[in-house]
């Protein structure tokens, strides 16, 4: 079993461990005890083993006193890691268009693979998509595996995960990166479950350990208020989904050379119990929220649906997307697909322009990692105004039209 204990004669009852525990598993209890130094203190840290996940955050926090003992039970490694080579990128495509995050991942995979002397391999699945393979090479792939089959016409979790798991078993990649898109997250989970390996969601930083080839996967939790670095030490391949816009793609270079390997899979052998019937395009979104560099977002302060017309005009001018707070969505001013925050989407654009959004914690966790935040609000004390890179106190119905005018002018000049 895993073991964690407070070493009583070292615990000064400072409560540092209580503060860092992400699982609220530690409390201070009244329990007078004597320290190694002979001093007597009143309080003692108490770890609730029902809540503890043995993550080690408390041990880290208690470095000075070294009063928490943690021993994690190690499971045996059952496979030979040496058989696992190369870094794969899943080349997600929808209606024959490769998701932009794929090119970002290829760039990062290239960076990591150079450290490990691995190749970067893209995996392209779909129907009549062969001709997209060259694009993946132009952006930096050394190898592209292609499975082109009518069974892969539309994205369905079952056939896609079957063929991907089969390919993994055949080729044994060391690392697999996938975009943290709706499809990527669902698909990757199914594949990782199938092949019994670790999957880390929504990474924002990646590195490798040169000795163990362990992928150091850093991801936010609690909307970025806590960061965790996660390893898959005993299983291969190591799988991660990665957020949009974290890495920069390489420039497209048609002189890049690579190998295209076509693979055939017998789909008649597998169960496909899901069927695609239809697709209805969301016409209210011109720019994909997750991929947008600029998001103009509105909240309760808009006062009504007409405010979003104004925000849309600004977003169009800037080539951005329109976002919304839960309050605006719940009021019926804009469809749910625009909602940013805990029960909506998580976004991290270059610029997030928050108009009339007070900044409830549930909203902040969905956009807090934006590079630049501009807040426009009547209330200078609202949380959004406090965290914004640039805050403007005022009426958005005065500021935004002026901003639209100014952007137009600026663009006509340059």
């Amino acid at each position: 079993m895993n073991k964690i204990e407070v070493i009583v004669n070292r615990c000064i009852g400072c409560g540092l461990c209580v503060k860092v525990c992400p699982y609220q598993a530690i409390t201070l209890i009244d329990s007078p005890h004597t320290l190694e130094s002979g001093r007597t203190v009143k309080q003692l840290a108490f770890i609730d083993l029902n809540k503890c996940t043995y993550c080690g955050a408390c041990v880290e926090a208690c470095k000075k006193y070294n009063a928490i003992f943690l021993q994690k039970e190690e499971a045996k490694i059952e496979i030979d890691f040496k058989d696992y080579k190369n870094i794969w990128v899943y080349a997600e495509q929808r209606r024959k268009e490769i998701s932009p995050v794929v090119f970002e991942l290829i760039a990062k995979a290239k960076d990591l693979s150079e450290k490990l002397s691995f190749k970067v391999c893209s995996v392209l699945l779909g129907n009549k998509i062969k001709d997209l393979a060259n694009e993946l090479i132009y952006y930096g792939s050394d190898v592209v595996y292609v499975v082109d089959d009518p069974a892969l016409e539309e994205f369905l979790d079952e056939p896609y995960s079957e063929v991907f798991a089969w390919l993994i078993k055949e080729e044994k990649p060391q690392i697999i990166l996938m975009g943290a898109t709706n499809i990527g997250r669902s698909f990757a989970s199914r594949v990782a479950a199938k092949i019994r390996t670790g999957l880390t969601a929504d990474c924002t930083a990646l590195d490798v350990d040169l000795q163990t080839h362990n992928l150091l996967q850093t991801r936010p939790a609690f909307g970025g208020n806590i960061m965790a670095t996660i390893l898959t030490p005993r299983h291969r391949p190591q799988m991660a989904t990665v957020r949009h816009k974290v890495f920069k793609p390489l420039a497209r270079d048609t002189s890049r050379q690579g190998e295209i390997i076509e693979k055939k899979f017998d789909f008649s052998k597998i169960k496909i119990r899901t069927k695609f019937l239809d697709f209805i395009k969301d016409t209210s979104t011109k720019v994909n929220l997750a991929e947008a560099d600029i998001i103009v977002s509105g909240g309760r302060g808009l006062g009504g649906p007409e405010g979003f017309k104004l925000l849309e005009e600004l977003a169009d001018l800037l080539g951005g997307a329109v976002g919304a707070s839960r309050a605006a969505v719940d009021a019926g001013w804009i469809p749910y697909s625009h909602q940013v925050g805990q029960t909506g989407r998580t976004v991290a654009p270059k610029v997030y322009i928050a108009c009339g959004i007070s900044g409830q914690i549930q909203h902040l966790v969905g956009m807090g990692s934006s590079e630049i935040i501009v807040a426009i609000n009547k209330d200078p004390e609202s949380p959004m105004m406090k965290i914004a890179t640039y805050s403007i106190e005022g009426d958005l119905y005065e500021i935004v039209p002026e901003l639209i005018k100014a952007v137009k002018e600026y663009k006509s000049k340059s």
Binding site: L49, S186, K275, I280, Y336, Q342, I387
Partner: protein, 263 residues
């Protein structure tokens, strides 16, 4: 039909405050709630039962105090509640959690027709447990469901919300769906269901009850391991842009944005 809803108890974000000095979460005295996305899963489980008949079971893996979340689900109208709880489950990642839930679901006396999960949990934000659970149960799944168009024995038709629009899909049952907020508006418990819930028992199942393999549960059974947890520096407040009128303010903002190469 038998609808099974998987839920998780999480810290309430509404009561989570960020310590302005340290930039870390203030976690003391934070209350626990049902994961916000699971509220929609519970509601859908109850609505489907009302629509086509049958029963709705709610299941969770967690410490004994997660009984509170299951009690809440019962008071909304779920018929049965199971808590998978064992010290050996602690530290489970999404793989081990999915495995544990799959063992619990396989032990149900009445097999599940449809399993409903929230899109993701608000603490971990992975969205991985639902799809992984479907794989381990060897059933099909659709994630990000915003509408269940039709359900009948052996068949379901759903709408899947993606970044660019909506897919309409059908599956054979048993199957699993993960649901988004748009699917419904959760109800409050009624007096009748609250009283009925009082008489109900939350069943506690441990690793022996569900016949779980030791090396697939808890921290030991988890392929991923947390190497370290750290707090990123808090976002410090920036600059207040002021001016005589809207025009002046906006011009200053444009200058700032263009200096970042944004426009």
């Amino acid at each position: 039909m038998h609808f099974v809803v998987c839920i998780k108890q999480v810290p309430a974000t509404t009561s989570v405050q960020i310590d302005s000095k340290t930039g870390t979460l203030k976690r003391e005295g934070v209350e626990s709630i049902i994961n916000p996305f699971d509220e929609y899963a519970i509601e859908e489980g109850i609505r489907l039962k009302e629509r086509v008949g049958g029963k709705t079971t709610v299941i969770s893996m967690g410490p004994p105090q997660a009984e509170q979340a299951l009690r809440e689900a019962l008071s909304r109208g779920c018929d049965d509640a199971i808590l998978l709880t064992d010290k050996a489950f602690a530290g489970a990642d999404t793989w081990a959690t999915s495995y544990t839930l799959s063992r619990g679901i396989k032990m149900l006396s009445e097999p599940a027709d449809l399993i409903i999960c929230g899109k993701q949990a608000s603490d971990g934000d992975t969205a991985q447990v639902g799809p992984s659970l479907a794989e381990m149960l060897d059933i099909p799944h659709v994630a990000y469901v915003r509408k269940i168009v039709e359900v009948k024995p052996g068949y379901i038709k759903v709408e899947r919300m993606l970044e660019d629009g909506i897919d309409i899909l059908e599956m054979s049952l048993p199957a699993l769906v993960t649901v988004v907020k748009e699917i419904n508006t959760p109800r409050l418990p009624s007096l009748k269901t609250m009283l009925a819930a009082k008489k109900k028992q939350v069943h506690y199942w441990n690793k022996e009850t569900i016949n779980a393999e030791e090396d697939k549960i808890g921290l030991k059974g988890s392929p991923t391991q947390v190497m370290k947890i750290f707090y990123p520096p808090a976002r410090s407040g920036g600059e207040r842009i002021t001016g005589a009128d809207a025009k002046e303010i906006v011009n200053k903002l444009i200058q700032k944005l263009s200096s970042h190469g944004i426009i």
